[in-house]
């Protein structure tokens, strides 16, 4: 355990947002201390955890990340109502997963990096729904470019294949992608051709993955098709790849440090954070600036837990918006049996998508959707059905092979609107350390339900038909995409938002809450690139603030 008890900036959380901020601060010559609730685990161990899992558990990306007792996180395959960490209620279950390990949840992300469009950030003005952002796309754009270079995001050079769409009136990208896109596998190639006949463009996914070349002193992707739950070679960016580099630059990273309280002084500035180590010993850390970057659930939980007579509703919560507006990308999956082989599984697990369906005037009525041909190798999923048929030996192998080729998952991911009733509160159930478990009430809302009924499922069914589906199963309920957004929402007005345009808490001038929790809209694309871009913007603001500029 490190003896350091102070630094210029204290960062709670070692996920992608925390490490991106830390590196910016270190490069600016500031001292940084990072606190991570969970343990630091070698990639080799995670890889072997995965390989040793029974086949039935390999589809659950959390299974190879057993939580430490003091840093519980959701474990969908083994959670029971009695022991589960998240206490869920409401018509839809906000069943998230995240990883409380050093490096955070990018350990098991797919690496997808769709930018928001300018329209995504102005829903209220353009469509009369949701919220406008406190910043516009033009302000965010340079930070997107910075994120693309920091994480090593590959993507197409052709403007017509980029997202947001590049045309004469659009805001131009300030930089090209640092690497070309990965080639499509046979399934994606065929899917692209099929949807083209319906008038849709399936474009290469911008993704934090080294495409055909090393980048950032990490190797090229060698197509293990194992991005979720772990890239075994570090070709996919994950924040764990940055930890040793941060330490080489002077960061102190303290693991097994579960922050349970954020203290303020009489000026309502943050004075210190307190954490329990794995022996339940309490420690106190002081600093000049404080960053909570521990995902939308843990950040909101920590703010609420830090309630005091000075801040009776919790820290940063004079607006009563902390923990509210919980958002995600509710998704439906169409599992198709196809007449002809498609062969998913060559290349990374997510490598292309139809994004144009997320945009349009219809957004005044219902949500947009993003369609994705999942490129996970199918054998893991189809083996059970083949076994159920009672096959053995060569017949079993042949059937697994046939179904691997001739089945596909097409995912329909939707946007949701920020709704204050979708709310995280502190449950009266306690975890191993005696800290309250998060309780979350969630309803995806009519805006999203209407999209599924009237828009995305009809399109999805046309796509399935064009693909030659002979059987189609559609998930009966929305599943969560594990893109936690909204719990400390950004806005210009301190009365109805938690943080300003730099992710600084309206209520505390030296407290920053950057990342997905600040996002004021979800759009349909995965949130990480926007989270990191907000992190870089916040980091620049911190450097200015500490330099007194």
């Amino acid at each position: 355990m490190s003896n350091t008890t102070s630094a210029d900036v204290i960062i709670v959380g070692t996920g992608v947002v925390g490490v991106s901020i830390a590196e910016t601060l270190l490069d600016a010559g500031l001292s940084v201390l990072m606190l991570e609730a969970g343990p630091r685990v070698a990639r080799a161990e995670v890889v072997e955890n995965f390989r040793n899992l029974p086949l039935a558990l390999k589809g659950d990306p959390s299974s190879c990340y057993p939580p430490a007792p003091w840093a519980p996180h959701p474990m969908p395959s083994s959670d029971t109502p009695e022991n589960s960490y998240l206490q869920l209620s409401g018509p839809d279950k906000y069943a998230q997963t995240f990883i409380r390990y050093a490096g955070g949840s990018t350990w098991h992300w797919a690496g997808t990096c769709w930018r928001l469009t300018p329209e995504d950030m102005r829903l209220k003005t353009l469509y009369g729904v949701g919220r406008d952002w406190a910043i516009d796309y033009k302000t965010l754009e340079p930070y997107y470019a910075r994120t693309e270079y920091a994480l090593g995001i590959c993507g197409p050079a052709e403007p017509e294949l980029q997202w947001p769409p590049q045309n004469a009136t659009s805001i131009v990208r300030s930089k090209p992608y640092p690497m070309p896109p990965l080639p499509f596998g046979p399934g994606e190639q065929r899917f692209t051709e099929v949807v083209k006949t319906l008038g849709y463009n399936n474009i290469p996914t911008a993704q934090a993955r080294n495409s055909g070349m090393p980048y950032d002193d990490r190797p090229a992707c060698c197509a293990n098709n194992n991005c979720v739950p772990v890239c075994p070679v570090g070709a996919k960016y994950d924040a764990a790849t940055a930890l040793a580099r941060l330490e080489a630059k002077g960061a102190v990273i303290t693991v097994n440090a579960v922050v349970y309280r954020v203290e303020t002084n009489s000026a309502n500035r943050v004075e210190a954070v307190q954490y329990f180590d794995q022996h339940k010993q309490s420690h106190r850390i002081t600093g000049k600036l404080f960053v909570l970057a521990c995902n939308g659930i843990e950040t909101a939980k920590l703010l609420l837990m830090s309630a005091s007579p000075r801040n009776p509703k919790g820290l940063a919560n004079s607006s009563d918006q902390v923990g509210r507006n919980m958002m995600d990308h509710p998704q439906l999956t169409m599992t198709l049996t196809l007449a002809e082989p498609f062969w998913a599984g060559v290349g990374p697990v997510v490598n292309s998508g139809i994004m144009e369906t997320s945009q349009g005037a219809f957004r005044s009525e219902h949500a947009g959707a993003y369609f994705r041909f999942n490129n996970f190798a199918r054998n893991r999923f189809v083996t059970f059905n083949a076994l159920k048929k009672g096959l053995v030996g060569t017949a079993l192998d042949t059937e697994i092979r046939r179904m691997t080729a001739c089945t596909a998952d097409v995912v329909l991911a939707h946007e949701v609107l920020p709704d204050p009733n979708n709310r995280l509160t502190l449950s009266d159930k306690k975890d191993w350390l005696g800290l309250p478990k998060p309780a979350i009430h969630y309803d995806v809302g009519d805006y999203t339900r209407k999209a599924a009924e009237q828009y995305s499922l009809p399109i999805g069914k046309r796509i399935a038909e064009a693909m030659g589906a002979i059987d189609m199963k559609i998930s009966p309920k929305f599943a969560q995409s594990k893109h936690i957004m909204g719990s400390t929402i950004m806005g210009l007005d301190p009365r109805d938002s938690v943080v300003d345009a730099d992710c600084r808490a309206h209520d505390h001038e030296n407290l920053f809450l950057p990342g997905g929790s600040a996002m004021a809209s979800t759009a349909c694309g995965n949130s990480t690139i926007t989270m990191v871009s907000l992190g870089f913007k916040a980091a620049d603001a911190m450097v200015r603030q500490l330099r007194g500029a």
């Binding site: 390989r51 190797p219 070679v233 790849t241």
Partner: protein, 469 residues
Amino acid sequence: MKALLKTLQVTALLFSFNAVAASGPLPLPFPAELVERGRYLATASDCMACHTAHKGQPMAGGLVMNSPVGEIVSTNITPSKEHGIGNYTEQQFSDALRKGIRADGAPLYPAMPYTAYAIMTDDDVHAMYAYFMQGVTAVDKGTKATRLPFPMNVRTSMKAWNALFLDEQPLKAEQQRSVQWLRGRYLAEGAAHCSSCHTPRGALMQENKELYLAGAQVGAWYAPNITSHPTAGIGSWTEAELVQYLRTGRVPGKAQAAGSMAEAISMSFSKLHDDDLKAIAAYIKDVPAIGADGGRAAKVSRFGQGKPGNELVALRGKGYQAGMQGQQVGAQLYSANCASCHGADGQGTKDGYYPSLFHNSATVNTSNLLATILLGVDRHTAEGHVFMPPFGKQANALNSLNDEEVAALANYIQAGYGTGVADVKPADVAVIRQGGPQSHLALLAQLGMGLGVLLLIVLLVWLRRRKRS
């Protein structure tokens, strides 16, 4: 007042410097073709590999190299007048290149392969001079000084070394040889300085000419026997394979370049003309066979050893920690760290981008196996950038393995995919981690001098006693 005067003087001085600078560059004395020929020769001589720091400016020096006698820092050889060789005359340049003598008369350490460059022709040295003066961008930045232990820090000691080991004779005429062979010899023995690494050195770090290209340790890496011997050397290779190796750094099923050979391929060989690569290959194929590699008899070729296989049955279903505490630690480490690229059976990929670990000379030599694990591979050619992450203590290590773990992993690889002999010990790993075996030269010299002083004292005492008697 005094201070003000001083400031004025300094200011005036600065202005006078500016005035000189503003008078514009000197007219360029060398024709462009000559500069380009010099560039090619400098590429063939691989000046860049040593005189450019990692991610540094070309030829600006600053690369720290581990030598058996200590760390040597390469110098700035850009035409910077203050920090580089901008003030060198052509004669001074020639003397540095071919005699190992700096402009100030001090000798260079033979980390600079002047003993090889010594055979280069006046014409070629002239072209290289033109290139260094005119084709390289001046970098006005100094480098850290080289500090070797006593007595190597006394540079004049190198004069005695040169007298013993620097051969300033031009190459012998070989009337009956082809033009191609002669060109190959000129390049291989001169610019490409193959012998600097591949020939073992004697106690005083001089190349042992009897064992020309018979294999030697170079820092953490082993530069193997490349004589024409069918098993100890590269006698089993075709000329085309040699050319392919020099151009791309790999011949699937045989070998691939890492360490300083990867640098030589990236910065030098991959950029040479086909004719020159063929000439080098023709000459190397003709180097007299020596049947030992690194002093050990090599009856079996290093290119065909090992076979595919795995020990996963012993590991699956038990978990990583159980594997690490069990009897199959090497197999556990291999599965966790290596198999994702090199395959569960060590078979690599079909296109050879990820090499198979059997039928691979890199896994047969313990030094190179350990250095590859600890340092990774980094090679740039027209085929692309080949990169294997390191498993040492680097910031980008995919996983930092300790000496015991590296030894267990190396033994697993040696046993199944390599020689079949698993005799790597953690101490061997520590040696490679520290940059390879250290020479006892400094210690010997110091001891030698100590002995000399002792002898002197004995002599004096004896003389005095004699006088008394």
